[in-house]
Each structure stands twice: as C-alpha cells, then as structure tokens.
C-alpha cells in the first residue's frame, strides 16, 4: 500500500509533485475544520459504478456516515446505493477482521450476484493489518467474480489523494480486462464525471447529437463491464477533479490514448471541450458537425438567456468551490454577465489557480484560507450580491442573509452543458430576486428607522 500511496503522491502529471515549493497537496492543519479523507475520495470516485457492490471493511461509522451522501445518479441498477459494511466490533479489532470480510463477500455474492465487489479498507482495517489484497485475490478465484481491493484508508491523506488511489485501482484491476462488442472511430471515455444530479445525461445528449460515443463512463452512471474495456477509447476527457489525471496519464502511456482536461460548465468551456474531442478524434466531418451544433446551441442559448440578463448583469459573486469548478464556473458566470469578485482557491491546484487568473481581473480576490470567516470577509469587503459555494458553507451565508446558490456534490440540479447554463441562469436569477431577501434585510416594524431600511 505504501508504494501505491507514494506513487499517487508523486504523480508526474500533477505539477505539485515536481515543484517542492507548492503547498497545495500539503496535509491539513490539526485543529482546523477540514475536508474529507482518502477513504471518502476513493469511495466517491468508485461508488457511481452502479451495478457493483461496494463493501466498506471497517466499523460501522465509515459506511453509516457516508451512505447516500452524494447525488450520483444511475439510469439502471441500484446496487451501489446499498450501504454494505462488515460493521466490525471490538473483538474483530483484536482478532482481525479477515474471517468476517470473507463471509461478508460470500453473502454479497449469494444475495446480489454482482459483476464485481469493491472492498474498501478503512483506518481501522489498515491499522490492524488485514491483508486486503491477498483476501481479495483468493475470493476472486473462489467466486469467479472480480473482488477488488481499494487500499485507501482515511489516514493516508486528503480526499484528492483517495480519488487518485481509486484511479490506480481501476487501472490495476479493471481497465484492460475485457473488450467491447463493437468499437467505433468516435469512442471516448469521460473520466471524473460522476453524474451528480444527472449532469452526465445532458453531456451525453450533446455528444449523441454529433455522433460521439461514450465508450466508458468513469464513473458517473457507470457499469463495471464498460470500464473494463475503457482501453479501447480513442480519446480520454478528464472532466472534473485533477485527482484522476493519473488514470488518464497511465492510459496514454500504456494504451496511447490521448487525453485532455476540459469542462462542461458554461457555453465557452462546453464548446471548446467538444472541439477538442473532435480535434483529437481527427475527423474533419465530425469537426464540422460540432461547429454546427455549437452555433445552433449558442444561438438558442442567447435567446433563452435574454430574460435573465437584466437581473444578472453586473451582479457581484463570491465563488467558493473546490477543484475544477473554481475556474470553469467563473467562465459560466461571466457569460451570464456577472462579475466574480472573489474566488476560493483552498482546494485548487496551481494549474487551477493559473486558470482562475486567466479568467478574472486583478481586482478579484483569491481566498486561499479555508473557513467561513475569510469567505464572509470577502463578501463584505467586495460588497458582493451573492455567494456560490458548497453545502457546509451554505448555512453560514444564510445566517448573514447573503443570497446563496449551492454548487457542490449535494446539489440536486445539473449545471453542465448548454441546458445546465440556462438552469444556472434561472436559479441565480431566482436566488437574487427572491422576496425573502427584502424581508430578511428589512428591520422589524418596531425598530427605530425601520421605514428607511432597504
């Protein structure tokens, strides 16, 4: 396991590894509120494989606290939604959890006959030294079904690192183990698209229109079988989370599949992602179809957005979100005529930050410290009209009566693609013009000066 962790930490496609002065992958400071752990990262990356069984080997908390915590949707099987765990008790901590794990795998096989079982290690099972790899190897042989160890206990590090370890797992155990019934010259993989709120379905609709086929969904709305044959794709697109960049890099090395990082947030990013796919597929006719689609969609978009523009124009936003969204959502907001006055860079990589800087002016504040205090300070000093961030900061904003839109994994709304941008415009417009803000900001009638209040 140590080797895998080191390898993941030293990922050459991530510039943190090559520059010692960059502290972004630095471990969190004790005594602060912090984000998820490596177990969390590995689980959220693999869990969207909807027909597989996902078994958490550890005490109940790890599974109980994470069960159904994310809105990755499936169009078919629902086995991934089951909270499966070995629920270790004190005696197993002392005598080892191996026996229980083997039995649990057996019960899953007999009960659900899944195409594969992912077994997640946790802090406890890593510490007590259960040999996950050996157990999984033997159980695979016994059942004739892949039982895959996911060695990413919480204590090895951050959520990002866990996602990367999940990528390693897919590369080592899944990709390249089967072949698709048919291939086309237009086969691509989406890597790091988790189908939160069904975003992948909208992306798929766009790709369908020009004849690009998603060969493997890694992993949003994914199926085990299709990920096994992912090595037959012509192009890999890394959609979100640089953490899975290692997977794309390794697939390029081993299978000569070119990859690029792109986003579907905002019309500009969506268009450029489509163009890049077409370009990498090296098909003139496809490129023409893509151009046509972009023209057509942008025209429609322009017309549909007209009614929201007066509300959105010139409004100031503080954006606080992780990773790829920190820059890609900026473009989307700017297309809506809004001004991004501050951006959180707490979870962004150096490359993300470079991209942020390309997109915003010198006046835009970069908030690099976590915590609600610094976000609120930015909102006040920049006189922002609203805040766009994740769930854990939402309620802080509402205490301060700041209009708020949630954009992280808990959201129930898809904002990707052209349709997503319309939805984003509509929701921001509704958020800004909701009557509750007038009510919240007006003093109660018994207060002095209430009539002149805004």
């Amino acid at each position: 396991m140590r080797r895998q962790v080191l390898e993941a930490l030293e990922e050459p496609a991530c510039e943190h590894s090559t520059n010692e002065n960059l502290k972004v992958c630095a471990r969190p400071k004790p005594g602060q509120a912090s984000g998820g752990c490596s177990f969390d990262g590995a689980q959220i990356a693999l869990l969207p494989i909807a027909d597989a069984a996902h078994l958490v080997h550890g005490p109940l908390g790890c599974s109980g606290n994470s069960w159904e915590g994310r809105g990755s949707l499936s169009s078919g099987p629902h086995l991934y939604q089951y909270g499966l765990t070995t629920d270790l008790k004190e005696s197993e901590i002392i005598f080892g959890g191996e026996k229980k794990l083997r039995e649990a795998i057996g019960e899953i096989m007999e009960r659900f006959s899944p195409p594969a079982v992912f077994v997640y290690s946790t802090c406890v099972t890593a510490l007590i030294g259960d040999d996950l790899e050996a157990i999984c190897r033997e159980e695979t042989r016994k059942w004739g079904v892949p039982v895959i160890p996911v060695n990413s206990p919480g204590f090895v590090g951050s959520k990002n690192l866990g996602t990367r370890l999940a990528g390693e797992t897919l590369f080592q155990y899944v990709i390249g183990t089967s072949d698709p019934p048919e291939t086309t010259p237009y086969d691509i993989n989406l890597i790091g698209e988790y189908n939160i709120a069904g975003e992948m379905w909208e992306i798929k609709e766009l790709l369908d229109k020009v004849g690009i086929r998603i060969l493997s969904r890694i992993t949003g709305d994914g199926r085990f079988q299709e990920i096994r044959w992912a090595h037959h794709a012509k192009v890999n697109m890394v959609v979100c989370s640089r953490a899975l960049i290692n997977l794309a890099r390794k697939m390029e090395e081993h299978y000569q599949i070119p990859y690029f990082e792109g986003s579907f947030y905002g019309a500009g990013e969506t268009g450029s992602s489509l163009r890049k796919i077409a370009g990498l597929l090296k098909d003139r006719e496809l490129e023409r179809r893509v151009e046509e689609l972009i023209q057509e969609e942008e025209k429609k978009l322009h017309r549909d957005l007209l009614q929201y523009r007066p509300v959105l124009k010139g409004k100031k936003v503080v954006l606080y979100t992780g990773g790829v969204k920190s820059w890609s959502v900026i473009s989307a907001l700017q297309e809506l005529g809004m001004e991004v006055v501050a951006v959180g860079t707490n979870k962004s990589t150096q490359e993300d930050i470079a991209r942020i800087k390309e997109r915003v002016g010198a006046d835009t504040e970069l908030i690099d410290e976590g915590g609600s205090g610094s976000i609120l300070k930015a909102v006040r000093s920049k006189k922002a009209d609203m805040m766009i961030a994740g769930g854990r900061n939402m309620y802080v904003a509402l205490k301060e009566k700041i209009p708020f839109l949630e954009i992280n994994q808990e959201r129930h709304t898809a904002y990707a693609g052209y349709t997503g941008l319309k939805r984003l415009a509509k929701h921001i417009a509704h958020t800004l013009s909701h009557p509750v803000w007038q009510l919240a900001h007006k003093k109660a009638p018994w207060c002095e000066g209430w009539a002149d209040d805004r």
Binding site: G83, R223, K399
Partner: protein, 511 residues
Amino acid sequence: MAKNVEIKDHNTLFQSEEYMKSAEKKMEFEAPCSLEEVEDTAAYLKTEEYKEKNFAREALTINPAKACQPLGAVLAALGFEKTLPFVHGSQGCVAYFRSHFARHFKEPVPTVSTSMTEDAAVFGGLRNLIEGLENAVSLYKPDMVAVSTTCMAEVIGDDLQAFIETARNEGAISKSFPVPFANTPSFVGSHIVGYDSMMKSILSYLNGREGDGEKMAAEAAEKINVIPGFEPYTGNIREAKRILDLMDVRYTILGDHSDMLDSPANGEYRTYYGGTKLSDAAYASRGKGTIALQKYSTRKTAKYIEENWGHPFIAGPIPIGIRNTDALLMRISELTGKPIPQSLKDERGRVVDAMTDSHPYLQGKRVAMAGDPDLLLGLISLSLELGIEPVHILCTNGDKEFEEEAQRLLAESPYGLDGKVYVGKDLWHLRSLLLTDPVDFAIGSTFLKFAAKDANIPLVRVGFPIFDRHHMHRYPIIGYQGTLNLLSLMVNMVLERLDEEAPGHSFDVVR
C-alpha cells in the same frame, strides 16, 4: 419573474423515445436476465424462506441504522456555551459529522479534527493533538474544548489524559483551560454511547470547578437539572424549557444545543450560540435533583450522577405520549414541590380531545418503526394510546435490557400483541419484515425511505437523521405539544393515503 424557459430534467428524460430504445439495448449487459426472472426474484424476496435466510446473515450489514460514537460526542459538546467539539483522529470522520448535522439541522456546525495521518499512525498522535489544541484555541476562541476519539486513535492507543497534560506543560493551552475528553471508538456502541460518554466527561470535569462560589451554590440549590439525551430535535429542548417555565421551576438544561443548532438569521454569523453556561454545569450537583429525559443514552452519566451528586436522579421514559408526559410532570412536581399549573392541565385536555377526534382513523393501523431505544419506547407508548399496533420494532443499537422493556410495554396492551422487537438488526432486515408481514406505514429516519418505498407504504419521518424534509427538528415531539405534533403527522398521513387511494365515488370532503 418572467415566463419560464423550458428546461428538460432527468425525471422525464428517460421517458423520451430515444432513451427507451437505448435502455432496451443496455439491458443486454446490464441485467442479463429476463423481466420474468426479475419478477420471480421480487416475489421470492417476499417469502418466509428469504426472510429466514436474511435473518441468518451475520457478517454483512446492509443499510445501517445507527451512527458512530464520536458523532454523539460532538452533539453533547455542542450543548455547552462556547465549546468547540474536537475530534482526535483522521480528518474524514469530522467532515462526515459536520455534513450529517448540517444536513439534518440546516445549520453550520463548528467542529475540528486533529487530522491524523500515517505518521501519527506509526508514532502516535501526540504532536497532532498538541498542535491541534493550540490552533483550535487561537482560531475559534472557545471557552472549552471537548475532545473525543475516533477508531484510529483508539486502535493505536493514544492516551488522551497524558497528551492533554503534555499540551499544558508545553504551553499549547493554559494550565486552567478546560479540556474534558471521552474515548469514543466507532467499533463499540453507537452515537448514543458517544453522547453519554462525552456528557459524563463534561459534567464530571466541570463539577465544582469554578471554586466554591457561595452565590452560585445557593442559586443552584434552587434548581433542578434536565439532561435531554441524544436529542436531534431542537424543538424538544425548547419544549422542555417551556414546560419548566409554565411550572415556574428554576432549572439548568445540561447540554442545551437548541440555540446552537437553531440560530436566527440576524445578519451576522457567530461561531457559538447559547448553550449551557459552564458555571451552571459546575454547580449542577448542588441542585434539588436531576432528570434525564432519555435513559439509554445517559447510562454512564446516570451512574456518575447517582454515585457522586448525592441528589435524586430519574431517567426516562422519554415524554412522548400522554402517559409519559404525565409521569414527567409529576416527577418535576415531586422534586420541586410546585403544582402542575392549569395551563398544562388544559393543554393535556386539548391533546386528549385531538386524540379522540382522530381515533377512528388510527385504530388498528399496523406500523413498523426503527430508531434509537429511548425514542422507540416513546413511540410504542404513544402508538398504544392511539390504538395503533406496533408490529415490527427495529433497534440496531438496542440491547437486551431495551428488548425486555419494549416487550413488557407491548404486553400491557392488546394493541401490542403482534409487536416484535429486533435488536442489532439493520434496515435490510426491516425490509424483509415489511415484505413478508406488511404494515400500513413506517416511522423512522430518512434512511427508511428505501425500505418503505419497496414495500409501498408511507414513511412518517421521526428521529435522526432527517435529511430529506425541512424543519421537522424544529417541532417538538415530546410533551403534550409534541404528542399533538406526532398525532397530526400520523393521522394526516393516513388521511392523505385515503385520498390517494380513494376511487372517484368515495373521494369526498369531510373526514
């Protein structure tokens, strides 16, 4: 707002022709079995044979119905003024706790972690704890830090007492800064045990701590103490306080997170809101007596108080339903010598009136319920008063004592005859029960919605966590008012169902 732009969403997306076609194609590798086989399997799941097989399951937990110890410890800590919950372990646990509480209460939850990593796993978490305490105190400026552990710290055997002492000696925190701590591994017990351990730790740590202030001691002697227990309802704590105020009783709530987890939108976020004053907790032992509203989530605390505080202590039953609320009021009255006021007597009468209004619709309804032990005992008691038959009672974190108490309660009423209690079982077991022995509705947390949907019965959301409905925790479910709230939740759900299922000719207006 202007007219809506039509935006397709995924609720309807899959009904389009294109998707129907592709779904048919996908069936080939997604589910290599016929629709007939699917139906057969569905039918098999409803058989006694499958149920037996399911109940023979030992190694695998499917759909858990409890949370872990440190989560409970965090809730206990949040009940004290300017107290920062501080969890010693790897960082992910705390991120989960904060999300869990934020999703349930819709509030920000300040809680920090020592973010232990591999180095700590090898060399111990001493440096993390010391550095963490220093950072937390300077960043969040608490008056007290309440330390709990995760599995990781427990497995490597970190000695909290010694570590905290070292932190003081090294000057990371002052000699006098209060740092109660509790050992709360997830592989033992559940969130109610963690709550209990932290509550006991805080009370014993603070006891007598502020020195012998004569004035404080004299004030405390006029008061009683009330411990809410693991309480996911801020409305319950407020209701307890309202009842005590109506009875003109002076009191200290030990662990009052009602303001912390239900604070006003006043335009300025603060890290801490309300909570039990540390000085009040320090003199609680001088009070007339202590009442714990829950029994199973305050066992260690109970033992500590009984052995050390030298005043009357009563725990449970949770005041849900008329009988349990009556018992609480009489106990308060006995402890304080205050009579039960007319206002509460009238309130009781009005709730009994409401129960008579609704009784024809609830009579003989069969329910399944899952939750924490104290809550379930309250719900059983209320069900029997309403003529509802509790059939399947599932308590993952219940023990032998709970099982016996629940069975005794059921045996007291003819409506309890069909009731069976299952401890240590999970929600997949409950699903089997719902399918083999159907009931009219289920009562429990959001997590029951999967089983309820499979069994095609409505779910009345009561307990923790409730992620998918708003404001439930703001309404009390204890006391007469809480009983009225539960009654109207249940009866209106039954009436809603009646309307849904009524054919045209019996779809009418008056119920």
